[in-house]
């Protein structure tokens, strides 16, 4: 069954909701608050890759229709204390769509602990980190929505559990154009969203010093090779006085990172990396950093559309990565 994924008006989205459709919705808070109650979950973000190209839009909402389920998906909030149960509670065959507000305790907790959740990697988990317009940073908090109750939350995670029939399977894939560069291997002693001291090619060093002294382009993420999956940690800022670097996802001890090799033409590179156009995508999202750094406003990333978010979830928290879901028969 073809999945509807599109940036549409609030009126059209409301019609879909009232018709009983099950939806995952992304949009500016002002747009989401106009939607009626129904079988949907949502998160705030005004950046999208629409069929017409990258756009910043506060009026419309991006809807992803959820189909193929064997029973009506279960929608619920998780708080920080219950978030670790998210995979254990997920359907035996199916997938879960997860939306977490940026800067919340759930965000930090998920980022650091998700790899160790019970049943993690056994059950497909896909989703994104809700954000805000960059002009609203520090003024308005990102939020998620439970459409069945209309409740908005700055702190809770909203989840949709989708059970599939036994002849269908959910598959999550990523498109990450970044590869480890030729620079030194960097490791850290602790898990954290920031770091100062580290090991650089095995010798004690400071990451902030390294990035500044070597004039590293901080639009490039740290990249680690997870058995062939390239996983990014994006750089948020460097504090020269404290000699610390802030990240958009945590670094983990025991993992070898390298600054990514530059990608000369993101659009060109992503075209060849995308799944084939005849592969039906049931859900997808990309990163706002890709939107900004690669200047994607007005440009298309092939046939893949979706919100451009403050972080992506493909089992665990990802940065500067496109994540997509396909249902395989």
């Amino acid at each position: 069954m073809k999945t509807t994924q599109a940036l549409i008006s609030v009126a059209s989205a409301s019609e879909l909701i009232r018709s009983g459709k099950t939806l995952s919705i992304a949009g500016d808070e002002s747009a989401l608050r106009q939607l009626p109650l129904g079988n949907w979950i949502g998160g705030t973000i005004p950046y999208f890759m629409a069929s017409s190209g990258g756009t910043v839009n506060r009026e419309d909402v991006f809807v992803t229709e959820v189909n193929d389920f064997i029973s009506q998906p279960e929608l619920r909030f998780y708080d920080e204390s219950s978030l670790s149960q998210i995979c254990r509670n997920a359907p035996e065959n199916g997938y879960s769509v997860v939306i977490i507000p940026a800067f919340s305790d759930c965000h930090a907790s998920f980022a650091a602990n998700a790899p160790n959740y019970e049943d993690m990697y056994m059950k497909p988990l896909i989703g994104w980190i809700a954000g805000v317009h960059l002009d609203d940073l520090g003024k308005i908090k990102p939020k998620v929505v439970l459409g069945t109750s209309g409740e908005f939350s700055e702190e809770c995670t909203v989840v949709m559990d989708v059970a599939l029939p036994s002849d269908k399977f959910a598959q999550i894939d990523i498109v990450n154009l970044f590869r480890p560069g030729t620079g030194p291997c960097i490791t850290f002693d602790d898990t954290g969203f920031s770091a100062g001291t580290c090991q650089i090619n095995g010798a004690p060093g400071n990451l902030a010093d390294y990035l500044l002294n070597d004039s590293i382009d901080t639009r490039l993420p740290l990249v680690a090779d997870y058995s062939g999956a390239m996983i990014n940690v994006s750089i948020k800022s460097i504090d020269k006085s404290s000699k610390r670097v802030e990240f958009y996802a945590p670094v983990f001890p025991g993992v070898e990172y390298r600054i990514a090799a530059p990608v000369n033409d993101y659009l060109d590179a992503i075209q060849s990396a995308l799944p084939k156009a005849n592969k039906e995508i049931s859900f997808s999202c990309n990163c706002i950093l890709n939107f900004l750094y690669s200047d994607l406003e007005g440009k298309r990333t092939g046939h893949i559309t979706g919100p451009m978010t403050f972080g992506e979830i493909g089992y665990q928290l990802l940065n500067q990565t496109m994540v997509y879901l396909t249902i395989i028969e």
């Binding site: 160790n116 990697y121 399977f169 997870y226 062939g228 999956a229 089992y315 665990q316």
Partner: protein
């Protein structure tokens, strides 16, 4: 006797401790109990109330209540008890003393890690942490002779090698590598390999290989590319 008093008795929660709060919505088939000390009564007409918590709340997995997991939340007493409280646990340990005794008893009877996890619905990571603490002298119990599980004698339609096949250990210790398409396998294998580097206990290593095999069994239909390679390597 009131039902809550029966629950206290069943869980060996004795005065001055009582169950101050209970939730059953934090996890599937899970009951969370908050246990606190009863404050001394200030007047004859006031009922028992909980004393204010001093220090950080700790959380342990306790013995199951029927099919449900039981999670205990409590603040350590300011004056440690001479006898360890059964529903309490040690710092940095995942289980209460009562559950640790139960698990230790199962080890003594030769029950395998995998079976303990299955029978008590305990996550592998928690049992591993507990066993790790045993092996490093952080707990007073020690494991008996090594436990080995026999390969299944039932015919299987699955192409996935048996859990006891040495190919799994080779995969986890990096002796063999696969060309992997599945994202979840890439991430899971990375996690297991990191853990495998740290695990020296044979039983715990076996548990990890069982977990890896369980992943392949669960996702067999999606792992054709990887399974073909694995079967070839298992046959070598």
């Amino acid at each position: 006797m009131k039902p809550e008093d029966m629950l206290r008795q069943a869980l060996e929660i004795e005065a001055p401790w009582h169950i101050s709060r209970m939730r059953n919505d934090l996890g599937k088939q899970q009951i969370d109990l908050w246990i606190a000390q009863e404050a001394p009564r200030s007047a004859w007409f006031f009922g028992a109330k909980s004393s204010s918590p001093q220090g950080n709340e700790r959380i342990w997995r306790h013995v199951n209540i029927g099919k449900a997991r039981c999670i205990v939340h409590a603040v350590p007493p300011s004056a440690p008890n001479q006898q360890p409280l059964p529903w309490f646990g040690e710092t940095d340990q995942p289980f209460t003393h009562a559950l640790a005794r139960q698990i230790a008893g199962m080890f003594m009877e030769g029950v395998s890690f995998q079976a303990i996890c299955s029978l008590l619905d305990i996550p592998v990571a928690e049992l591993w942490k507990f066993k790790h603490n045993l092996d490093n002298g952080k707990a007073g119990l020690s494991s008996p002779q090594a436990v080995r599980t026999a390969p299944s004698t039932e015919p299987s339609n699955s192409a996935v090698p048996e859990a006891v096949d040495p190919v799994w250990e080779k995969l986890l210790d990096g002796s063999i590598n696969l060309d992997i398409h599945a994202l979840s396998l890439k991430l899971l294998l990375t996690k297991f390999r990191e853990q495998f580097l740290l695990i020296t206990d044979a039983d715990v290593r076996m548990l990890k290989t069982h977990e890896m095999q369980r992943y392949f069994v669960r996702h067999e239909k999606l792992l054709g590319h990887e399974l073909t390679q694995l079967v070839q390597l298992a046959g070598l």
